[in-house]
Symmetry: C2
Subunit: 499 residues, 2 copies
């Protein structure tokens, strides 16, 4: 939307269009499926990125595909924007509502439609919670692999929209690697089916395109996921290091040895201590960093890999290596990692979680750069991350009650992401771009590349009605961001100078 | 192009535009890189689908990215179509030239640019042969997994364009699962980079979209592939069955047991006998069908899986099970499978290879349906296929010198693909759509779905200059195809009635 937008795009006109849509929705849907009162709308004003809030114009909760089609057709006809929402656990503001728009909740699409243990697939509605799939198929010895930390709450539709990862995605892949097919509704209300039960499908690979598309291309109403056999044996080991760089190098050495652990996580001293104090996982409080490594498979294979990993860790200088003796011990090792985000509340009132990804070989170098940036911004950063796939989650600690700290934290976060790009990485590993990292997309991509993204977006959504303003910045915005980064004709960020 | 195209689209006008492009190319590129003489152009008149032939308007062989950009800019400016070509081994006519167009060969892009054994990646040019990558990285104990039968000749650029598979894709995935990044040139000459060394990348997943896009979206000039560690142990077993259905059910049972073989191939009696007579692989000539199963991994795991597979095969009614004793025996077992296509030349002068994919559980049912269709068309069909992933390769045998046989073979091929779709499968598993299966795409997809494909294509190539007429049919074409299928108001194909 530029400054010379026609008068039809004023807020008043947009409000009038929304009013027409609401009136029509109230005749089309059951009364309890259209929320216009302010208080119940507040539930939807933010997702997991709670620093950004916006009350939606209205909320609809359809419970049939035909109703979703009707909502989208109406919004298309009246040019009213639509933001789809699953459980609202996203961390990048991807489900942030629009004041003059419709918030379309898929909460009522919560059925598992079919489980085929022979084909090892499940056909589910988008509002099914991630963990519910694994629970439902456990009786067949199967599980659904991607396991974001929010898996007890987040829904599979949101997982597809964000291409969610988790601890196990190093071995078992991201959501895109575990989704076989979807049905979605286009911005003008058509039902389209992509993929299916076969390994490949002819035509353009629109299925992969949907994974991580952050609600920009269509509204997903059904998903077929791949199920995997539960591994017969699991082992978890914990290694302590006196030096963060040595821990980073150990990660690279494990992968270089041809071993793909089911999970390979790293925590620095700050977050190790916070987690230990919080859940008493048995972590060494004096280690500069710890690694958690999970191996799974048949007994012989897992044992062989465990021995190999122990040797690599010793060679890399681990000061202490412990193998969990049983399921309870394994759960305790993981409990600290899983509680890392809330545990950071013990050391600071607020935290800002970043999600950059870097080549594994740069872990030590980028961690040092993050320390330097933190000192420069006079803030503390603790690091907990999916080390095996180079996906960092630096937590910038701050206190929102201290004037200027939130702004400094956001600025530092942006600098950290730019450092990830400079190292050959990306601004997001699994949390999506949303509204949070939209400026950093200007650092990641060229104008030609962003233009191509916009062209593909327009091929699905000509009028830009689906989740506008998220995920892909306009070229105008990038020009503006570029100007902010330049002082006296000089690019001010050392990170950007490397481009 | 419709019947009322403006006069600028007559053949004469198109020829004039091509003439202008050729004149400009001759000043831009070295003389040996622009082929206009008829005889040397003949080399490019078909790919592996030799039934379709067309002399290209001219052939260019650029050897730098800047030259590819110049060629595309020129063609864009003059609205001249461009068909990109790798080794020309494709089986669906994807590289079929256009009379008034440019054939852009990537043959000179044949360098391996970088091997990173630690990150386990290789950065290569598109004209590098598939097998050259595995050869180059063997010294590091690594290999590149997708292995189409044509791997000694086909190039990695063509593999990406067709999303090629191979014997090992059941375990290691298709090309899309093994490509980490590409650089491509847009239809108007911009260089765009997608993906990289990290597991995920922000923005829309255009990288996956490129895999299998059949040259419609851009011209790939660089590819970063994932490398895998060579498995320490490999076992191959052969099982004979007196009944084709029992062999099909054995395949489903192996997968259902949670075992993912490195390869799981099936051959029926016709092709088993032809292959045995051709290469003396030691196949049982009296079996109704044979299965070849390859297992790989560490010694203990592979041994455990071998025992499990043997038991499953016995339970499924295998009459004979043999495990290859050594590397020579393993090579002999595979030699027959790899020579299956040429071996069919012993039983018929010509063959037409289909590439449908079906859910594994339908193998027995679809094979019966294919037999019935073959009888109806008075032609013989032999079957050799990637059973583990349900990817059928029925070979329709015919004699082109017998009037009407080619037409009958094509008709039967179409019916077979439609039967695959009716069983919940797709019209292509790994050979692409090209010109060969374009009518069957009308059976596979709805008008809304095809419209979405066209919109995405247009987002990359507004003027439809890149490989026009391939892969995705126009709605007009489908309407025409639909009319051909209806006689006296009745749909004539039993396959279609199931939709």
């Amino acid at each position: 939307m530029n400054a010379t937008a026609p008068h039809g795009n004023t807020t008043a006109a947009a409000g009038a269009r929304l009013g027409e849509v609401i009136a029509a929705l109230e005749t089309l849907l059951p009364a309890e499926s259209v929320i216009v009162d302010t208080e119940p709308r507040r539930v939807y004003e933010c997702d997991g990125l709670s620093a950004y809030r916006q009350l939606p114009g209205c909320v609809v909760l359809p419970n049939t595909i035909a109703q979703v089609q009707a909502v989208l057709r109406l919004c298309h006809e009246h040019r009213v924007p639509v933001v789809a929402r699953g459980a609202g656990t996203g961390l990048s503001g991807g489900a942030l509502p629009i004041a003059e728009g419709v918030l379309l909740s898929l909460a009522k699409f919560s059925d598992i439609l079919e489980i085929d243990p022979l084909a090892r697939t499940a056909r589910v509605q988008p509002g099914v919670r991630n963990i519910s799939i694994s629970e439902a198929v456990a009786e067949f010895g199967l599980f659904y692999a991607p396991d974001p930390s929010s898996q007890i709450a987040c829904t599979i539709g949101g997982n597809v929209a964000e291409n969610s990862g988790g601890v196990h995605c190093l071995k078992y892949g991201l959501t895109v690697h575990n989704v076989l097919g979807i049905k979605f509704i286009t911005s003008d209300g058509e039902l389209i089916e992509l993929g299916g039960q076969t390994l490949d499908s002819p035509g353009l690979d629109l299925l992969a395109l949907f994974n991580g598309s952050e609600g920009m291309l269509g509204v997903i109403v059904e998903i077929t996921v791949k199920l995997l056999p539960q591994p017969p044996v699991t082992e978890v080991l914990l290694a302590a290091f006196d030096d963060v760089g040595a821990a980073g190098n150990a990660v690279a050495a494990i992968i270089a040895a041809g071993i793909i652990p089911a999970g390979l996580e790293m925590m620095d001293q700050g977050i190790t201590r916070a987690a230990e104090d919080f859940v008493h996982a048995g972590y060494p409080r004096d280690a500069a960093a710890i690694l958690l490594c999970e191996l799974d498979g048949i007994a012989e294979e897992t044992r062989a890999q465990l021995q190999a990993v122990e040797q690599i860790l010793r060679d890399a200088g681990a000061s202490d290596i412990r193998v969990a003796a049983d399921a309870a011990a394994r759960a305790r090792f993981w409990a600290g990692r899983k509680a890392a985000f809330p545990a950071s509340g013990r050391i600071a009132p607020d935290y800002y979680c970043m999600d950059g990804t870097i080549p594994r070989k740069c872990i030590a170098e980028v961690l040092e750069r993050i320390s330097a940036l933190a000192r420069e911004h006079e803030l503390e950063v603790v690091n907990v991350f999916h080390a095996g796939d180079g996906n960092l989650h630096p937590l910038v600690l701050y206190d929102v009650s201290q004037p200027g700290e939130l702004e400094r934290a956001e600025q530092l976060g942006g600098r950290i992401l730019e450092a990830c790009v400079a190292a050959g990485g990306t601004v997001t590993g699994e949390h999506g771009v949303g509204v949070e990292k939209i400026n950093q997309m200007c650092v990641q991509f060229s104008s030609a590349e962003l233009t191509q993204f916009h062209a593909v977006k327009a091929a699905f959504d000509e009028h830009g009605l689906l989740n506008p303003g998220k995920a892909v910045p306009t070229l105008n915005r990038c020009a503006e961001f570029g100007r902010m980064h330049v002082h006296h004709g000089q690019i001010s960020h050392p990170e950007l100078e490397r481009f």
